[in-house]
């Protein structure tokens, strides 16, 4: 609550009360005579409010959300294509898809990010956000592919037969009948994959992308508070993922409409 109030006051340009309070408390923090609550509030002031640092968190959060959202989009589209390729009876489709999935899942995301950044895009000047989206998207696609493949295989064979017996071709049957059911089945795991993705984008700090984790790290380097900035960004991750989980729960309930007996 204190943070929210402080933010509101800061935004309104009315920080005099806080500033006065800080001027009174900071000497006590220096000589170690501050009490418990003064220490806590002092930490929050230095790591969130001072010098408009809350803006750093918000910008970092914005980058994290942008990269995660776009990478998830790449992941779901490419992952679906990979799943369909891997299930194909044509070896020149299924083999490369299988190899790609295996390769991506067998190497660390961080290494993939470094290879794409310093290897593939070494000599070109590309926005770090785009590099992050490509790296995380290509990585996520491998996991999404396996989730979708599992979903497709869980759909009863009779569904395909019913579609084909009506004269629909293989692709129409897949697109209109099998995939919608497969994605519904895979939705909880896809949601989980997206949650993982939001947090894993933090490795992009290695290529100097200022996401939420990097922002916290930067603030620590300025304030020298041992962990306050990290806690703040952790709370922001928690908030975002809580909201996302709620939304997915709503979506799942809507999709379950057809299961009512």
């Amino acid at each position: 609550m204190l943070i929210a109030t402080a933010l509101a006051e800061n935004i309104a340009g009315n920080a005099s009360f806080l500033e006065n309070w800080w001027n009174a408390v900071s000497p006590k923090l220096m000589d170690g005579t501050a009490n418990f609550w003064e220490t806590i509030y002092g930490e929050i002031y230095r790591n969130v409010i001072m010098e408009g640092r809350w803006l750093n968190y918000l910008k970092g959060l914005g980058v994290t959300l942008e990269v995660s959202f776009l990478a998830a989009l790449v992941g779901v589209i490419l992952g679906t294509v990979l799943a369909l390729m891997k299930l194909s009876r044509t070896p020149w489709l299924s083999k490369p898809a299988g190899a790609y999935i295996h390769l991506i899942r067998s190497t660390p995301l961080l290494l993939q990010v470094l290879i794409i950044n310093f290897g593939i895009f070494a000599s070109v000047n590309v926005d770090k956000i785009i590099i992050g989206v490509i790296a995380c998207g290509l990585n996520s696609a491998a996991y999404v592919a396996e989730l979708i493949r599992g979903g497709i295989q869980s759909v009863d064979k009779g569904q395909t037969e019913a579609g084909r017996s009506l004269g629909l071709n293989g692709w129409q049957t897949m697109r209109l009948i099998v995939l919608p059911q497969a994605i519904k089945t895979a939705l909880p795991s896809l949601c989980n994959e997206f949650i993982v993705l939001i947090k894993e984008t933090s490795v992009l700090a290695y290529i100097a992308l200022t996401d939420l984790t990097k922002a916290a790290d930067y603030i620590r380097s300025r304030t020298f508070s041992p962990f306050t900035s990290y806690i703040v960004s952790a709370l922001l991750y928690l908030a975002v993922i809580s909201i996302f989980t709620k939304l997915v729960g709503k979506l799942e309930r809507r999709l379950r409409r057809s299961d009512n007996r």
Binding site: D156, G158, Q159, E161, A162, G163, R164, S165, L166, G167, L168, N169, Q172, L176, I177, P180, Q181, K184, R257, S258, D259, N260, R261
Partner: protein
């Protein structure tokens, strides 16, 4: 309408159909009976190529559908199929289940397809179920919808694969009634079933299959009253008791 010549099907080493020759005429109701594992379901599934035969030919309205160059999707529009497990699409409501194929295949506009669906639903007494989802219906209702879904394509022949075997006994009648009505309307039908009463009442011709062959065929009277083969007599004795 359908001519089957020397039809064979292997599943690996298993020889399921060992050369079946049949001719099914327009408007004929052919009922296929036989013990489980006799190949009768495989025979039916070969007719619309859900199973690809490993030998022999199938001619449908003069076209060799076993020819790899034949566009089977186009042929299947004219062959409705009803499955033992109904296989309605659980993520679509009843109306969408019925209109999906005709609309996607551009045979009808959405509105035409819906009008046609409502007319057919009325015929099977389920017009008030148009907007519900398949799992909200009983097995008998689902199977009647499945029949309607196949009929919505205006097929020339209807294939039934044990349509009442997955139903609770009290629901068998409502499905058989729809099938009888269909037979009276002159539909060409091939029915794999264990319902001997239905075979006797509706069938023009009964095929008794065993071990991948049609062992005996004839009118219901011939098969049920005067079976010639020992295997037919054994089977009928077991199922009719």
């Amino acid at each position: 309408m359908i001519t089957v010549e020397k039809l064979e099907k292997h599943f690996g080493k298993l020889h399921v159909l060992r050369g079946v020759d049949q001719h099914i005429s327009q408007g004929e109701k052919v009922v296929v009976i036989g013990p489980s594992g006799s190949g009768k379901t495989t025979f039916l599934r070969c007719l619309n190529l859900l199973e690809r035969p490993t030998g022999g030919r199938i001619l449908f309205e003069g076209v060799d559908i076993t020819d790899p160059k034949c566009d089977i999707n186009r042929i299947r529009r004219k062959m409705g199929m009803v499955f033992q497990q109904f296989n309605l699409f659980p993520h679509l409501n009843i109306l969408k289940n019925i209109t999906l194929a005709p609309v996607q295949l551009k045979l009808m506009s959405q509105q035409e397809a819906e009008e046609n669906a409502m007319r057919l639903l009325k015929r099977v007494g389920l017009s008030e179920k148009a907007t519900v989802f398949p799992r909200q219906l009983s097995g008998g209702q689902q199977q009647r919808i499945a029949i309607v879904r196949a009929l919505a394509m205006n097929p020339d022949v209807m294939l039934f694969d044990e349509p009442t075997s997955a139903l609770d006994p009290e629901m068998v009648g409502e499905v058989l009634d729809v099938m009888k009505q269909l037979a009276e309307d002159g539909m060409t039908m091939v029915v794999v079933t264990h319902e001997m009463g239905f075979a006797r009442e509706v069938g023009d011709r009964v095929l008794f299959m065993d071990e991948g062959l049609v062992v005996e065929e004839g009118t219901p009277a011939e098969i049920f009253e005067h079976p010639q083969q020992q295997r037919t007599r054994d089977f009928l004795q077991k199922v009719l008791k």
